[in-house]
Symmetry: C2
Subunit: 455 residues, 2 copies
């Protein structure tokens, strides 16, 4: 018998301090609306002096364990995905395990698997699928798995990437017969292309980013993955033909959000592709004109061409698009617009946002995921929201966390960014919280990061 597996609960961790987008715009001498409207970002989460990707991951993992009264023996894996982890050989998951053992007891997690998955921002989605498959295969010897996506998106001061910075971790609790939503493995589509839109040679401390080009890669890979997803839907009889709309079948959608406006681009591109053969398209085409020709253009060139961007802009102003966007996508951006980019965590912050901000009845709705990672790969997959979701959604608590943060001025932000503050000089000193305690200086622990639960 097929096991129904999926996401039982979600917990997020967001640093307690943030920079206001308007403050950043003023300091950089740019029009604030370029950040708030152009990118869709209102606040940027900034990790405090004692935080890194590992402490954030451990905080999210601890919260999901406490909220669900889980014991270490209930878990088969603590599996973390990141592209801003502390170590090139030892997985971040193992650092997280060590932190959790400070709370649950030394050796309490010695039965778990703890690998790290790397694939830029799509890493946590890859990890989630692998852990779900492990449960579905019947191989797991525990009740649950935890997958965490954790990242700090950090770019140079004054760079074009600076206003998209952010930081967050999301922990997913995975199990059989989950309360939140059941995964639909039969439809999942992948779209993977070896590309260089964003990469970080191992010898560099900052990534090399081609922003515009990356938008094109995102759209291209998402189309390949969506086509695969649609074919699978046809093969399983959920759609009659490839000309039917798959977006019709989804009630909610969360996309990876490097900046919220990107999600609008993505969804518009998605819909243009999905609706092209529907009867309604005739009316839309009359209103906005025909799609520009892609003749002679490679996929990415087409997606970043002025002609296509203009066309998509016109489409994004139609009431058909606006209705779909408001109905299915807009709510996913509540948290990302208050956090900034969080790489692997981003698409799951979108899911948490949906559950926390929607008042309507979500039961039995299909929730679609459009997860993208540079380099590059997209995964399009979906879940069915379960009746017990209400109970779970009530306790996600992400919005409350976001509401309790403290705004910091630009000079303090720059001090943190440039690592001018010591580990003991946090803006909000850690309390009941994991913290980076010290960094090894001896020959046998040079550069090693020691973590501690601060009571």
């Amino acid at each position: 018998m097929e096991r129904k597996v999926g996401i039982d609960d979600i917990a997020a961790y967001v640093p307690k301090i943030y920079v206001d987008a308007e403050d950043m715009a003023k300091a950089r001498g740019i029009d604030p609306s370029k950040i708030t409207k152009g990118l869709g970002i209102e606040k940027l989460s900034i990790p405090d002096a004692h935080e890194d990707a590992a402490t954030m991951a451990a905080m999210a993992a601890l919260e999901i364990m406490e909220k669900n009264e889980l014991q270490p023996k209930d878990l088969d894996f603590v599996h973390v995905a990141t592209e801003s982890g502390p170590d090139a050989a030892k997985p971040i998951s193992c650092y997280v395990q060590g932190m959790l053992e400070q709370v649950y007891g030394s050796g309490s997690f010695d039965h778990v698997g703890a690998p790290e998955t790397k694939f830029a921002c799509v890493g946590a989605t890859y990890a989630m699928i692998d852990r779900l498959a492990y449960i579905a295969s019947g191989w797991s010897k525990s009740r649950c798995s935890i997958v965490v996506g954790t990242d700090i998106a950090k770019y140079e001061l004054n760079s074009s990437g600076e206003p998209t910075q952010g930081a967050a971790a999301v922990a997913l609790l995975l199990r059989e017969d989950p309360r939140l939503m059941v995964y639909e493995p039969e439809f999942t589509g992948f779209g993977t292309v070896d590309d260089r839109d964003f990469f970080r040679p191992i010898e560099r401390t900052t990534a090399v980013v081609n922003g515009q080009y990356s938008v094109g890669c995102y759209l291209r890979d998402m189309r390949i993955a969506a086509d695969a997803y649609k074919r699978n839907m046809v093969n399983h009889g959920v759609l009659k033909s490839l000309k039917d709309s798959m977006v019709e079948k989804a009630g909610l959608i969360s996309f990876h959000s490097p900046f919220p406006k990107m999600v609008q681009y993505a969804f518009a591109t998605f819909l243009i592709h999905d609706w092209r053969n529907l009867p309604r398209w005739e009316k839309i085409a009359k209103e906005i004109g025909p799609e520009p020709s892609r003749e002679g253009l490679a996929d990415v060139e087409f997606y970043v061409s002025e002609g296509y961007k203009e066309f998509r802009k016109r489409f994004a102003m139609t009431k058909e698009f606006t209705h779909e966007y408001q109905e299915k996508v807009a709510d996913s951006l509540t948290a990302p617009s208050l956090i900034g980019n969080s790489y692997t965590a981003s698409v799951w912050l979108g899911v948490a946002s949906h559950f926390e901000t929607r008042n309507g009845d979500l039961e039995a709705k299909r929730l679609g995921i459009g997860s993208y990672g540079s380099g590059s790969s997209a995964i399009v997959c979906s879940f069915i929201v379960q009746p017990e979701y209400r109970e779970v959604a009530k306790k996600i608590g992400l919005m409350e966390q976001l509401g309790q943060r403290q705004k910091i001025p630009m000079n303090l932000y720059e001090d943190l960014h440039e690592e001018r503050l010591g580990l003991r000089e946090s803006v909000v000193p850690p309390k009941n919280e994991f913290a980076l305690d010290c960094i090894g200086k001896e020959s046998n622990d040079c550069g090693y990061r020691y973590y501690k639960y601060m009571r």
Copy 2:
């Protein structure tokens, strides 16, 4: 119905040049037997000027595809594990995919998943289990998966790690009803402890290694994982009680080999633990004396204590140990002793060595795996050798590759080690082979590694 999944075929790639252990010993002014006997290493694989972990992985993946006449559409995942990859954000798997597309056509792999798994030397075993679970769950839409372990073990010139260096990649072809061996998921045991025996802070280009301490961590984690494996065997009725021997149930064993002598330590420690309650132990204890007390010592302290090491040495000289070791383990070290350390690939080179060097009838034998990664985690798991293994084993071809290599002198080795040779100055210029072609220097591709199939 339970699907039988496992390893259908294995392909290895080893650089075409090597350094002789005796040459290295002479150059470093040490007794050659310290390397050849003390470590068990005869030759050290050295990557040529055009090689890195990505080219080696692509070579192993290409070989397994060609040998089995696979097309890209036959594969669901190209999943690579490494701790010496080129990129901190983009997975090495995606670079490998790009190389394979140079042979199979642009876009031919756009349907695959391509994540990277990181957990020091145990990474490929983690990746293998996840891909097998994916097939076992029925979620795979293709016939096969490829998992590659690829690594370059490199330490400073004149350092104590230098004589253990090596380089290799191993590709595993995974599928339902495999010809080589069927996985036994029900027994798999994990042993994971947050530790700092070997790590590489992201800002460092070389790892920090505590050699002796790491030996202790290896033995501790292996014992935790073996205990879990044994409990699972008891729960499934394969063993009557925890006092029975699990090693009795295995016909062949392959351990992670940072250096072959470590495998002897590991197997002796394994056996002491496994045999402690057997009737035969009385006779052994009479011969070698009682086990030293571990009172007051933490696990790792005990395993690296002089008293325990002496005791294990005496045990390793008994005819009972020697018989088991020769029968089940020794053949796994053929390739590792001619290659050096290859991190994620090592334990799988051991499996390939077994199949290539054993003349006896292996059908229906249980092959045990003891996989270890610093940081730290061990996985103990097993497979059952299938009737069709003979056909597959005949074509592994690793021994032939090892026999065709070219020995290089120490000065040339040092030039390669210190990167004094340009990408076009390879000792054996690449032919029908993937090569690192150039490294980006512009602002938008700074440090990016471009690869090319050289005909």
